[in-house]
């Protein structure tokens, strides 16, 4: 007997969580890593602009109001992206535009996650009447085409004083996009929670008296959080694009440069053959969208439990 036992090799396999495993696999995808770098670069630029503005640093790259040259200069060695109607540098405007567009996307994402995740969790966990109500709310919202909903919200919320808080410019945009985009993540979370809530680990937690809140926050949500991250990365792109469309409709930041505004200006500028503002903004949006899309896909593939076998 002992001989057989001795012959058996006891292999200790270090347990890996979904995250560790996923991240390991993600690291192997070189292309996705490159995209991550690009994404971080954009965020870094945004942060930089915020800091520079806050401390009032006179850094040339951020001073987009400075007249660097004559009106409507095409791109050349001196003016890398050309100038606009006031002779301001399009390059600097593009850099500043990152701040506007990324802030919109971040705020809208935050709002939709802050609404969608808790509601989804509550609906999925408690079921019953609460679930019916929440499902009714988001079914109603999702019956209305996304763009109509955003427009309706934006038109109505513009310049109103809601609960004593005055709504202006960008806040309207954040709210309009955020309030209409939480449905997707809510549905997702709800579905996952429903699947998980009858699993053994949850029953176990309940058996030793964990409160509902504890179960939701400490047990369930961490297990479904990877979906939130994936959803976030993919939805971020749609928010950046939504800013462009809202800007076209006259909603959004009017005083400061934004990529949407730059593309919109092209509507009248193309007549004079001025293509560089639109080009710069399009290129900026292109790279961040591409990076986020690829990275989001890679993330999803890496975190997909079905693929763990590979």
């Amino acid at each position: 007997m002992t001989d057989v036992v001795k012959d058996k090799k006891i292999v200790a396999v270090k347990g890996t969580s979904l995250w560790k495993d996923g991240l390991r696999r993600l690291k192997h995808r070189k292309f996705a890593m490159v995209c991550l770098v690009i994404i971080l670069a954009y965020f870094a630029v945004t942060a930089f602009v915020y800091v520079a503005e806050f401390f009032n640093w006179q850094i040339r790259a951020v001073m987009w109001t400075e007249e660097v040259g004559p009106s409507y200069q095409p791109p050349d060695v001196k003016y890398v992206f050309g100038t606009d109607i006031f002779g301001q540098s399009v390059l600097r405007k593009t850099i500043y535009g990152a701040k506007t567009s990324i802030t919109v996307a971040l705020c809208a994402s935050l709002i939709s996650i802050l609404i969608g995740v808790p509601l989804g969790a509550i609906a999925g966990y408690f079921r019953g009447v609460v679930d019916e109500i929440i499902v009714w709310i988001y079914s109603t919202l999702s019956s209305i085409p996304y763009i109509l909903l955003i427009l309706a919200f934006a038109v109505v919320l513009r310049d109103r004083t809601l609960f004593g808080f005055r709504l202006t410019g960008m806040v309207t945009v954040y709210l309009a996009i955020g309030l209409t985009s939480w449905v997707g993540i809510c549905r997702l979370i709800r579905g996952e929670i429903i699947k998980h809530k009858d699993r053994e680990y949850v029953l176990a937690a309940r058996s030793y008296g964990s409160s509902n809140a504890r179960i939701i926050f400490k047990q369930l949500l961490p297990n479904v959080f990877h979906l939130v991250i994936i959803d976030f990365s993919l939805r971020f792109v749609s928010f950046i694009h939504a800013e462009v469309i809202l800007s076209f409709l006259g909603l959004g930041e009017a005083d400061k440069p934004s990529w949407g505004a730059m593309i919109n200006d092209a509507r009248i500028e193309l007549a004079r053959g001025v293509w560089w503002q639109m080009a710069a903004a399009t290129v900026a949006i292109f790279f961040i969208s591409l990076a986020l899309n690829i990275f989001g896909d890679a993330l999803r593939d890496s975190l997909d439990p079905k693929l763990r076998m590979q």
Binding site: D255, I268, A271
Partner: protein, 602 residues
Amino acid sequence: MLKKVFLFITILSSCLFLIVGCGKDDGEQTSSDNVIHTALTGKITGLDPANMRDWSSGVVAGNIFETLYQYHYLKRPYEAIPLLAESMPIISDDGLTYTIKIKQGVLFHDDKCFPDGRGRELVAEDFIYALKRIANIKNISQNWSMFDNKILGLDEFREYTKTCKTRDEVDYSWQVEGLKAVDDYTLVIKFKRRWPQFIYILTDPSTTAIAKEADDMYGKDIIAHPVGTGPFKLKTWHRGSYIELVRNPKFRGELYPSEGEPGDEEAGYLDDAGKPMPFVDGITWSIIAEQQPAWLLFMNGQIDSKAIPKDNFGEAIDSSMELTDQMEALNIRLEKFSDPSTYFVGFNMEDQLLGNNKPLRRAISYAVDRKRFIDLFSNNRNIVADGFLPPLMASYNPEIKKKGYAEYSNEKAKQLIEEAEIINKGKIPLLKLGMPGTGTSYRQMGQFLKKCFNDVGLEVEMLYMDWPTYLEKKNSKSLQMFVSGWIATVPDARDFLEIFYSPYWKAGTKSFNYYNPQFDKLFEQVEVMPDSGERRELYRRMEMVVMDDCPAVFINHRVSYVLKHSWYKNYKPHVFQYGLAKYRRLDCAERANYKQFLKKVK
């Protein structure tokens, strides 16, 4: 089962295709039609004269409806001449009674609201009916303010309509003292006070005659079923897209004027003198909100005339402000004309900060670089506004430039800001400026103005809003500063002065909320004066009073550059008259050949 689903989708889509295929296309437009093709940027709100305040609607309606008087097409300065009236009105000595004889034999358009569908003869009562319609509160007429408290007995009629519960209850036979048809062709109007501009009011489309039959038959839908007496009738109206008018076969006829001003003969405007109008068979207006497509349609010969968009200016006009060779080669002609307008950044005089701080207001006026503004936003076409009365007005003061109200000086501005800070007992806080739009042009203007303010140390926040919101805020006095413009609709400077007269704006639209008792007294004096040298002097004095108080930064007066093709004859710009299509003539053969001509030139 899947097959059934497929089938369902196929059937559904075939239905959709059918709908699409069926809903199509009436009126192939060809360039050899004797029809004027033109474009509008704003949509037409409606063709009901009682409710017409926007320019686009007036432009179209002016060809369908006729008024008692019209402006002479060619003579300048602008003068009113009879149209449906027989002659100029007989005015009583006290100026309170107008007796107007109307022409006989004028017929309404054939329309199904008349028995047998045949238009009946126009009578004096129809004009009275029209005015009563405007007074009728149930019609919620936007034109009522023109007649408020002017005609004897009309306000009482309005009060009477308030007591009626529905539109149908209103009895139009209710007698109005100041509107009487002595016989079928004589109209007697009595006022409460003298109204020297009344003759011009009678050229406004809102005073055209309305046939009661049309009103009864169409009710609210009369906005799409205009029944007038003019040279054209409505053919089709695809709302928001295009509108077509067609020649009225029963038009009583009118002759092209035989006199004009010096220069008209050389320009070819008297070629058709004495000939019966109209010359064209119809007019089509396409509603094109974007400038670019409209411009390209013009270059392609599909539109007969176009104002030059600011971004295509360089293509059409060279640095000496004349046509480029390219345009000359295409036989395109240029018309330059000023219109009686002023563009400004207005101050809300009831604002705590601005209203009591004249140095601050004067400082802002010094800080705005008007010349650069004109260069950037109107291709250097417009002229600097030294006062607020445009040069077109007879009472324009040629000496006003010397007063220096439009001077640009950052030093003077900064000095005045120091004074302003003393009055304000502290630094000037963030100012707010409302813009009536959110599009690119408005943003560019906003950015420019912001720079001007920042250059003298003032902080300003630009508030971009859509037009309805802008109007609402301005009217509720919640805008501290606002960008706007004003245009005269009659050749009398009173149109400009009345916006500063406090009893008027208190009861109506708010803008500057300007109150100066001296000005009010002068206004009451000139209101009842007919045109004269003395009145013009008073107008100028009043302008000075206002300019000294600085209720706005007056920026520029507009000069329009319009291009027309060589085949579009008798096109003389007229800034007051609606309904000019009857004078125009087309050389259809030339237009039809344009496409080939284009290819050759290119």
